[in-house]
């Protein structure tokens, strides 16, 4: 079976796979990760704030997101966002939200829950004495967080944050439920039309491996540079 591989199908679809598919995947990953880290850090701070109401909401949000499979979340957002939009703007017909904005909103909202858990562990890994010291120096909450806790939490959790981003890069392939054309979507569309699944999937495996391996190699080098020696 391996001897009669037909790789011509890959060659002819290369411009489609990379020009359209990979560009989509990379831009979605970058924007969703940036949005997710910011939103996730706020969620983690809210959850650890101890303010009644606020931390309950944050906890509930994180746990709801972690409960749902991403495929279902993408599905619901795609169909319901037009109605929510119509409700908010008072329009009588559902407003049209493009597939890309819809996917981006979904990924930011969803991944924030995961980034929040990582940041929570990061904030908790900073000894309590440091917070106490900062307060003794007269810093308020935002100064303590911004100058003392968060920089160290980010450093400690950088490998995990970046690993999660690599996971996100792979997760974007789930937008196939909306038949959007990300890299995996492009590959499987061509594979199914031409009946060349094995070749296409092996090729996709190699491409994902190359990209993610390079990324995680860089993560490790970065990690060595930022590591705090204890």
């Amino acid at each position: 079976m391996l001897s009669n591989f037909d790789f011509s199908v890959i060659l002819t679809s290369l411009p489609y796979l990379f020009g359209q598919g990979m560009v989509f995947t990379v831009s979605l990953t970058a924007m969703a990760a940036a949005g997710g880290v910011v939103f996730g850090t706020l969620l983690a701070m809210a959850r650890l704030s101890g303010i009644p109401g606020l931390w309950h909401v944050a906890k509930g949000y994180v746990e709801l997101c972690r409960s749902l499979p991403l495929v279902l979340v993408i599905f619901w957002f795609y169909f319901l966002v037009p109605y929510i939009g119509a409700y908010l703007t008072g329009s009588s017909t559902p407003i049209q939200v493009g597939a890309f904005p819809s996917a981006l909103i979904t990924f930011i909202a969803f991944e924030a829950a995961y980034f929040a858990e990582i940041m929570r562990a990061g904030i908790q890994s900073i000894p309590k004495g440091q917070t106490a010291a900062a307060q003794a120096l007269g810093m308020n909450y935002w100064q303590t967080m911004g100058n003392v806790v968060l920089p160290q939490a980010f450093r400690n959790m950088l490998p995990l944050l970046l690993t999660q981003t690599i996971v996100l890069f792979q997760d974007t392939s789930l937008v196939y439920v909306l038949s959007l054309t990300d890299f995996m979507g492009a590959a499987s569309k061509v594979a199914q039309r031409d009946g060349r699944l094995v070749e296409m999937y092996i090729f996709a495996a190699l491409v994902y491996f190359a990209v993610c391996f390079t990324a995680s190699f860089l993560v490790r080098r970065l990690q060595r540079r930022v590591a705090i020696i204890r």
Binding site: Y78, P94, L178, V190, R193
Partner: protein, 308 residues
């Protein structure tokens, strides 16, 4: 409602009033449903499938093409003529088997052009225009396995695509005829066929036309055979529309009936089923069946296979 919209509605109302006063505008006032939506937005949206060869799939430049899509363009032309629009945009939106119903329901697409089987259960949810194809359930197997009839499958492992009418039929046949089959569900047609190709399953039970396109595009088309015996009567494929929209359905039915009964109908059929099709130049070699000839001579939209 925003101010802009209020203003726009005011203008529209004023226009409507002027038109109502004009003698020829009687029926434009009565527009409802999809026709009204198309008239208001100046656009009609067609849903297409990625890989339903040759009904609706991505061609060489990754633009959707296909037999069902050509029919949809005819319906779009008829809508444009009906509404007397000078310009109407035809938008395309990809759909999957999971998104086609919600997208029809929430108004993202107006027509779904693919290989959707028309049956009574689905008619509770959507409407179908005149059937554009008839296909029976058969199975494909490797020639070397020597499987010709359904009896030959006894005790074997067979595969079908999950959620299709076909997997339902093979399940029923399995119980009724005590075949002792192991029935595997596959995610899509391409993976189901791969299970036969790699020997995970002895046969793949599916609509014969889809089997023909899978075999034709496989690496060694000569190695497979499609059974003569069928598990079902030929079942109709139809183009999906929103339910309870008789005005739009009437336009679509009239347009498809006109196409099928004219010489252009059989010519369109030949273009996709008996000639080489893009992107790889495969030829399905499926001349029109007797049932299809009857359907094109006298088009109907019934979900009942016995009616054809």
């Amino acid at each position: 409602m925003t101010q802009f919209e209020l203003a726009r509605r005011g203008v529209a109302a004023a226009l409507g009033l002027t038109l109502a006063l004009a003698p020829l505008s009687g029926h434009a006032q009565d527009l409802t449903g999809t026709l009204k939506k198309v008239k208001d937005s100046g656009a009609i949206t067609i849903g297409y499938r990625d890989a339903s060869v040759p009904f609706s799939y991505l061609g060489a430049d990754q633009k959707p093409i296909g037999y069902a899509l050509d029919i949809c363009y005819k319906i779009a032309d008829a809508v444009k003529a009906e509404l007397k629009l000078d310009k109407m945009e035809v938008k395309l939106n990809p759909v999957t088997s999971a998104t086609r119903i919600p997208l029809i329901a929430n108004g993202t697409i107006d027509l779904e052009c693919g290989s959707t089987t028309n049956n009574a259960e689905r008619e509770k949810q959507v409407a179908f225009t005149n059937s554009h194809f008839l296909t029976a359930t058969r199975f494909v197997s490797k020639k070397s396995a020597n499987l010709h009839t359904i009896e030959d499958l006894k005790g074997k492992t067979v595969v079908s695509t999950s959620g299709t009418t076909n997997i339902k039929q093979i399940n029923e046949a399995n119980t009724e005829r005590k075949l002792g089959l192991t029935i595997l569900p596959a995610k899509d047609h391409a993976e189901a066929f791969l299970m036969v190709e790699t020997g995970r399953a002895a046969a793949f039970v599916m609509d014969d036309v889809l089997l023909a396109s899978l075999v034709a595009s496989s690496k060694d088309p000569g190695a497979y055979e499609i059974s003569k015996e069928a598990l079902s009567k030929p079942e109709p494929y139809g183009i999906m529309l929103r339910k309870d929209d008789p005005a739009f359905k009437k336009v679509a039915d009239a347009a498809t009936a006109k196409l099928y009964t004219s010489p252009a109908g059989p010519a369109l059929y030949d273009k996709w089923f008996t000639q080489a099709i893009p992107p790889r130049g495969i030829n399905l070699n499926l001349p029109m069946s007797e049932e299809m000839k009857k359907q094109f001579a006298n088009p109907i939209a019934s979900p009942d296979p016995a009616a054809y």
